[in-house]
Symmetry: C2
Subunit: 215 residues, 2 copies
């Protein structure tokens, strides 16, 4: 979905600060790699990457980030969409995520959405490359209150996505992005005819430990 919708960063921070653990949170608005390579010697019990992997600009930056974390955190917990819809009502979300990734990967700048749609398989390969060991993983059904499926689909079917199609110069490549967008709309409309709303796809989660002791 577009940045700042349905809640912007400021609203999200305010919400978290008002929570029971709000006074124990410090926000750092900086590039993760810059932050992790800064001079601090802090070692963390746990690093959590919750639904953020897909927003890294390139797969290689994910590997670099996991490498940087491997010497700073004892455990690394990752949650990301599984690209699986255990209910047909989440098919449109799978297609919308792939549509977004297919458009964003062509942008050379101004990336503001799903950039990579990395699969659980690839994330685990990257973690291995970063020297991490998987100790636990699973797939969860998204809770009904998690509306990301609807937001993602609306975003793909919206005006901004349509306008941005022009960044894909090759007619063959553009037709694939258009086909993903069309399939997203068609699957949403097929559901609507049976009175079913779009839901959110399954979530994969993995827990990793470092093979070397954090410094």
């Amino acid at each position: 979905m577009a940045p700042g919708t349905p809640f912007n960063l400021q609203q999200t921070h305010a919400h978290l600060r008002a929570s029971a653990v709000g006074d124990r949170i410090t926000f750092h608005r900086t590039d993760p790699l810059d932050f992790l390579s800064s001079a601090t010697d802090a070692v963390y019990d746990v690093a959590v990457l919750a639904h953020c992997i897909w927003y890294f600009a390139k797969p290689s930056i994910v590997v670099d980030t996991l490498k940087a974390l491997s010497v700073r955190a004892k455990r690394i917990c990752i949650a990301e969409y599984a690209l699986v819809a255990s209910s047909p009502s989440a098919f449109p979300h799978v297609l919308a995520a792939l549509a977004h990734a297919s458009l964003e990967c062509r942008k050379t700048e101004g990336k503001n959405n799903i950039c990579t749609a990395l699969t659980p398989k690839r994330i685990k390969e990257m973690a291995t490359e970063a020297g991490l060991v998987l100790v636990e993983e699973g797939v969860l059904n998204a809770p009904a209150k998690m509306l990301d499926g609807q937001w993602e689909v609306s975003s793909v079917l919206g005006k901004v996505f349509e306008e941005e199609l022009s960044v894909v110069k090759d007619e063959g490549e553009r037709s694939v992005v258009e086909a993903l967008r069309y399939a997203t709309r068609a699957s949403k409309e097929a559901l609507a005819q049976t009175g079913v709303k779009v839901t959110t796809m399954d979530v994969w989660h993995g827990v990793f430990v470092t093979t070397t002791q954090p410094r």
Copy 2:
């Protein structure tokens, strides 16, 4: 699917020649545009493009072909996959078709599979551009005996597809093709867990007439 599977062109021609109308069929193994621009003055009652649109190398060649047909055929009938799965069992087929198109569109030569995955919407726009008028259209469920869904999924999950991934040089773009392949596999496995086999997606069909009389 790969060319020549499950039946090659020779086998297919032999099958058609052995049918009741076999002696009324002439096969021309040539480029459609070359054939249509040849010196013959033949005018056809009907031109049928049955599940071939997706195999044209580029969208613009489809437009050129429709333009060439518009002065040679009175009616043009097109059938192509609708990119819609009215049954969840056809969802892997939708993903597999998009996976194939996302890979083939990056090839500069040796294209041998779905190249464009043009949507019914785009095909209709192209027909309009070619001076054709839509007089009838619809969407059909694929018959149970039509095994294209299973073939397409098998092809995407096969070795050849995996090897050809290397044609996509950019790591971000390659991750999208990998994600489409992963989602194809995951949706097939999710079905298999409930004892359901992959079926074939819905088919769109349209009948067009020429706005000008064929010459």
